[in-house]
């Protein structure tokens, strides 16, 4: 008997399985959308990952060429739907820069508060969804429950929950609702109690730690080489926060820290976003009581025409650096618009860092990358 077992063990060492291709997606729950990963596997080991994008390509860049400038922001809601407000803001800032108008102080404050609220909402959804990817379903419900508070604040002021379309060139669409400040403050108080709960629930969890620590390490050099931005890049120690380096709106007025990680592994990316949530709360706290009086929008011309030329503006969305590049030929429609979306650059590092990990680790890596597919496909 022992002989047979020994023989069996010695032969299993030599068994070589063929490499085979598995399509992960386009309809896979852990790709968070219609993303197809062509994974080359040997057994459970990932040898190659080839992302195929374009399944939800909506041609937003092309569509904007036939829209006027006030109409463009509402389409960008549909790009990175979890950072809808930042996308709107990027286009509006670009148009305002081109026209060389200065928006009132009040608008800057409102926009910044909304940015940070949106970042919180996005990170909450990321937290709960990636918890779910790693097998912690409870996290999913808790995250969605708390996100609801922010969405309610949005709904009261802008009338929509996800596709806000709140920023218009020259200001914001409505003034803030009279309840806005009170509700945001109540939310901050509540959320400060809830965030440690998130940590207790997942961050300290031994299963979770073993699945993320040391998994999918992205070095600082690679992060820079691949153009990885946002929390993913910062977890590798790459200081790339647009809010710090190229401040816009009311960011020059607030004090906050750009959190930087060191390890660049999945756990660091996780931790960094948790820290960012604290920073966002901190930023909102500084602004919410000091919103200056004034107009909530400039009086813009009925038909906005940009001067001839090229204009670029970047903002920090919840996923990284979003760039808006507008080429204008002086008409009321842009000649060409290009969006530099953070998700696209972040996604394509995946082959580099997921190699030789198990397929379950690939899910952990993707979860901590915080991918939003329409942002990648546009």
């Amino acid at each position: 008997m022992a002989e047979i077992i020994e023989k069996f063990i010695s032969t299993t060492d030599q068994i070589k399985t063929d490499e085979y291709l598995v399509n992960m997606g386009p309809q896979h729950p852990s790709t968070h959308g219609v993303l197809r990963l062509l994974v080359k596997l040997e057994g459970e080991i990932v040898h190659n990952v080839e992302p195929h994008v374009g399944y939800i390509h909506s041609g937003i860049e092309k569509m904007t060429e036939s829209l006027t400038y006030p109409q463009i922001p509402h389409l960008t809601d549909r790009m990175d739907y979890l950072s809808a407000h930042m996308n709107n803001e990027a286009v509006c800032l670009c148009v305002e820069n081109a026209l060389q108008v200065e928006v009132p102080e009040r608008v800057k404050y409102i926009r910044t508060i909304f940015d940070e609220l949106q970042r919180l909402a996005s990170h909450q959804l990321w937290w709960c969804a990636s918890g779910m990817d790693l097998g912690a379903l409870t996290a999913f419900f808790y995250g969605l429950r708390d996100r609801e508070d922010i969405l309610d604040i949005f709904e009261e002021t802008c009338g929509a929950r996800l596709t806000l379309n709140y920023t218009v060139p020259g200001g914001v669409m409505f003034d803030i609702h009279p309840n806005f400040q009170r509700k945001v403050k109540a939310f901050i108080t509540k959320f400060k109690k809830i965030l440690p709960e998130y940590d207790k629930l997942l961050t300290g969890n031994i299963i979770f730690q073993n699945r993320t620590k040391g998994v999918g390490v992205l070095s600082k050099e690679d992060a820079i080489a691949f153009g990885v931005t946002g929390p993913t890049g910062r977890a590798s120690g790459f200081s790339c926060d647009v809010r710090k380096h190229h401040p816009y709106s009311a960011y020059p007025l607030v004090k906050f820290e750009e959190k930087l990680g060191t390890d660049g592994d999945s756990f660091m990316r996780w931790k960094l976003r948790m820290d960012e949530m604290w920073e966002s709360l901190h930023i909102i706290e500084q602004l919410i009581d000091n919103i200056p009086e004034g107009d909530y929008a400039l009086k813009m011309k009925g038909v906005i025409k940009l001067p001839e030329g090229e204009f670029y503006q970047r903002v920090e969305t919840a996923r990284g650096e979003l760039g808006v590049y507008i080429v204008s030929d002086g008409k009321k429609n842009p000649y060409r618009v290009k969006f530099r979306s953070p998700g696209f650059s972040n996604l394509f590092t995946i082959n580099h860092i997921a190699k030789n990990w198990k397929i379950a680790d690939l899910v952990a890596i993707m979860a901590t990358f915080d991918l939003v597919i329409p942002d990648i496909d546009r």
Binding site: Q71, H74, L75, E155, E156, G159, A160, T163, N165, N205
Partner: protein
């Protein structure tokens, strides 16, 4: 021997980390009144949306079946999706002058992205965003609506 104790300690710390998480879930399990679930289809009668909620574009009429729309077509131009079609007609008013008024304000709900641009740009505030969000229909044609009611006319004192 030392590694053995470390191993045992690790097991206990691992179990402790799981219990910490369980404590959070247990707290909510035993305090169900803190839960926030809404029983949606049942609470329809009491459900109030926020006043700015963008559910659909509607045109309010007063008790005399009058609306404020002049048929200027600005909303049609500003709609990014072509969801609005203005069909106007010319009538002869009491003074014998020819005048263009709105015949049909057609709104394609199926193409609307609820961006609020039409409401914002309407010079006479004739259209507003409604609160109804239950937009499921059996066929597509019922998603095309005529916003001005049949037989309605324009309110007095709205300048063209």
């Amino acid at each position: 021997m030392k590694s053995f104790f470390a191993y045992i300690a690790e097991i206990f710390s691992a179990i402790w980390s799981l219990l910490t998480g369980m404590k959070v879930t247990a707290k909510y399990f035993f305090t169900p009144w803190k839960n926030v679930t809404q029983q949606y289809p049942e609470n329809r009668d009491t459900l109030v949306m926020y006043e700015r909620f963008r559910g659909e574009v509607i045109m309010p009429h007063n008790e005399n079946n009058e609306h404020k729309c002049t048929g200027c077509g600005i909303c049609e131009i500003n709609c990014p999706n072509g969801s609005i079609e203005i069909i106007s007609k010319s009538i002869v008013n009491e003074e014998g002058k020819k005048k263009r008024v709105i015949d049909q304000h057609i709104y394609h709900l199926s193409m609307c992205t609820f961006c609020n641009l039409c409401v914002k740009t309407c010079p006479s505030d004739a259209i507003v965003m409604g609160q109804n969000f239950e937009h499921a229909y059996w066929n597509r044609t019922s998603m095309t609506k005529v916003l001005n009611q049949p037989g309605s006319k324009i309110m007095e004192g709205i300048k063209e």
